[in-house]
């Protein structure tokens, strides 16, 4: 890789870290015009930037607003890159269907996890909030998902996660997907008790968990 390319990758990485939503797309476009591959920009700029963002958050050096702005910046870059990656036939790190469980309308944590997974090269189908068991099951079938990620902020709604797992069993899909759960009132004990494959306390650990479960 030429030094100019290296500098461009660094520039894009820094723009994500700085949350520079105004300039990121111009930087990505010019990097592509200079001959950088979309996959190189993803793995050389976006993924490491989001990993740093996640680590900073875990260490208490970056807070949710800064993390959200970095993630939004990354998404603007992905908007350009994703169609090109598809054209090039670059396979995603995995396919994740994500949503907040039925009855629950909270989305910040879930959206952060979705964005971090995208930054790590996963294809993410974000079903939004208040997602029913049947919607999860349909999405798994339709997108041939490798992972379901479910979120809940309320003790009253987290119990609905079990219903999704039961619906997957009924549809004979349980063995085709890994199930990860998260949200403030949850714990790894709870994840185990409902038969999920793992619990993640925050967005960075959700990415690690997803990679581990898929053997990456």
């Amino acid at each position: 890789m030429t030094q100019a390319h290296e500098e461009q990758l660094m520039g894009i990485r820094q723009a994500v870290l700085d949350g520079d939503m105004d300039n990121i797309q111009a930087l990505v476009s010019s990097a592509l015009a200079e001959g950088l591959e979309p996959e190189t920009i993803l793995s050389g700029s976006l993924t490491p930037a989001m990993a740093i963002v996640g680590d900073d958050y875990e260490r208490g050096e970056r807070f949710v607003p800064e993390m959200l702005v970095a993630a939004e910046t990354m998404k603007l870059a992905l908007k350009i890159l994703q169609p090109l990656l598809k054209e090039d036939g670059v396979p995603p790190a995995g396919v994740v269907v994500i949503g907040t469980i039925e009855g629950d309308l909270h989305d910040i944590g879930k959206d952060l996890v979705a964005m971090m997974l995208e930054g790590a090269g996963f294809r993410v189908i974000n079903l939004g909030i208040d997602v029913s068991a049947s919607t999860f099951v349909q999405a798994v079938q339709e997108h041939q998902a490798d992972i379901i990620a479910m979120s809940a902020l309320l003790t009253t709604t987290m119990v609905n996660m079990q219903g999704v797992i039961e619906a997957l069993q009924e549809a004979s899909l349980r063995d085709t997907v890994r199930i990860i759960v998260g949200g403030a009132p949850l714990s790894s004990d709870f994840a185990e008790s409902i038969g999920a494959d793992g619990y993640a306390a925050d967005a960075a650990s959700a990415v690690r968990l997803a990679k581990t479960l898929l053997g990456k």
Partner: protein, 327 residues
């Protein structure tokens, strides 16, 4: 100086005031929804809490949607779950105009909360609390929490405009609660847990201060989640007490908070009170008492509102253990 501290001193023993609201509905065989709409039902449930547990402060059911609903935002009311605000319509400061003439205190459901206070204040021997939504949290309901968080960086002027509006709403409701007879106002500011300490002071703290300094009753600031990094900034708001969640290490926090501010908390409302055996409650309360031994600026409570289906025996156990002179 601090009226909450004065009250503790006069009480002569450790105050025990868990955030029991919803479990009162189970005592009266009513749904949450019935309590959140009808003052008579709500007051009965709180009386039932008073009769069974004799908390040192009587608190209502926690409902973060009252002010937003009074402003006309659409709210979902399940029978037995917390209400949730379903729309977050504010995108620019002109959107605030649609609320310009709203007299939130005239709203029927907000009136039912005031009537509940009024009914209980008449005959209250214990201090009576009321909840009002905090400025950044109401801003998050108006704009969407995600959008409000991003706008603290991308469009701080808009956030301040919405915060100024939210603060006016909170001050008006606070006044009405105090007038109805509330002795203590708990400002619920959970969404501010997202902010850095610097951003907290700018986007929440200064506005909380404005509500607290304007309030003639005792003021308490409640924020859920891990507020360890925000403690200093929370102390600067001038509130009399901080109600903190179970993830905060009270043994550490009490050393970092000035003695003039009362710490309120923080038995785990979900994993311990809601889900564990009474013996676990005993251990949790004893551990907390041990950590707080010798500190007079402390009220034993739960880290947040107790879930509806908290086993009543667990609340019995918390109260009993906290009041046991042998501990």
């Amino acid at each position: 100086m601090n009226p909450l501290q004065d009250w503790i001193n006069k009480l002569g023993h450790l105050p025990v005031a868990p955030l029991i609201g919803y479990p009162g509905a189970r005592l009266t065989g009513t749904t949450l929804r019935e309590n959140l709409f009808d003052a008579g039902t709500h007051a009965n449930s709180l009386r039932a809490i008073g009769s069974r547990w004799h908390p040192d402060i009587l608190l209502p059911m926690m409902d973060l949607s009252v002010e937003a609903a009074a402003l006309g935002l659409s709210v979902r009311f399940p029978d037995n779950e917390s209400p949730t605000v379903e729309e977050h319509p504010v995108r620019d400061s002109a959107d605030l105009d649609r609320f310009g003439a709203a007299d939130i205190v005239a709203d029927p459901r907000l009136q039912s909360f005031l009537s509940t206070i009024l009914e209980l204040a008449d005959r209250a021997e214990t201090p009576l609390g009321a909840y009002v939504v905090g400025p950044f949290t109401l801003t998050g309901l108006l704009m969407g929490a995600n959008e409000a968080a991003i706008a603290t960086i991308r469009n701080p002027d808009l956030v301040h405009a919405v915060l100024q509006f939210s603060t006016r709403v909170s001050r008006a409701y606070t006044h009405a609660c105090v007038e109805a007879g509330a002795d203590l106002i708990v400002i619920l500011e959970p969404t501010a847990v997202l902010l850095s300490p610097v951003a907290f002071s700018e986007f929440s703290g200064q506005y909380v201060q404005s509500i607290a300094s304007d309030c003639s009753a005792i003021s308490v600031l409640h924020i859920c989640g891990d507020t360890t990094a925000l403690l200093d900034a929370m102390c600067e708001t001038g509130v009399h007490g901080l109600s903190l969640d179970s993830v905060v290490d009270f043994g550490v926090a009490i050393k970092n908070v000035p003695q003039s501010i009362v710490l309120i908390g923080n038995v785990d409302p979900v994993r311990v009170m809601g889900a564990a055996d009474p013996s676990v409650v005993t251990t949790a309360v004893r551990d907390l008492l041990k950590a707080m031994k010798g500190h007079r600026n402390f009220i034993l409570s739960t880290g947040c509102d107790l879930p509806l289906d908290t086993p009543p025996e667990n609340i019995d156990k918390l109260i009993h253990t906290a009041r046991d002179p042998r501990v």
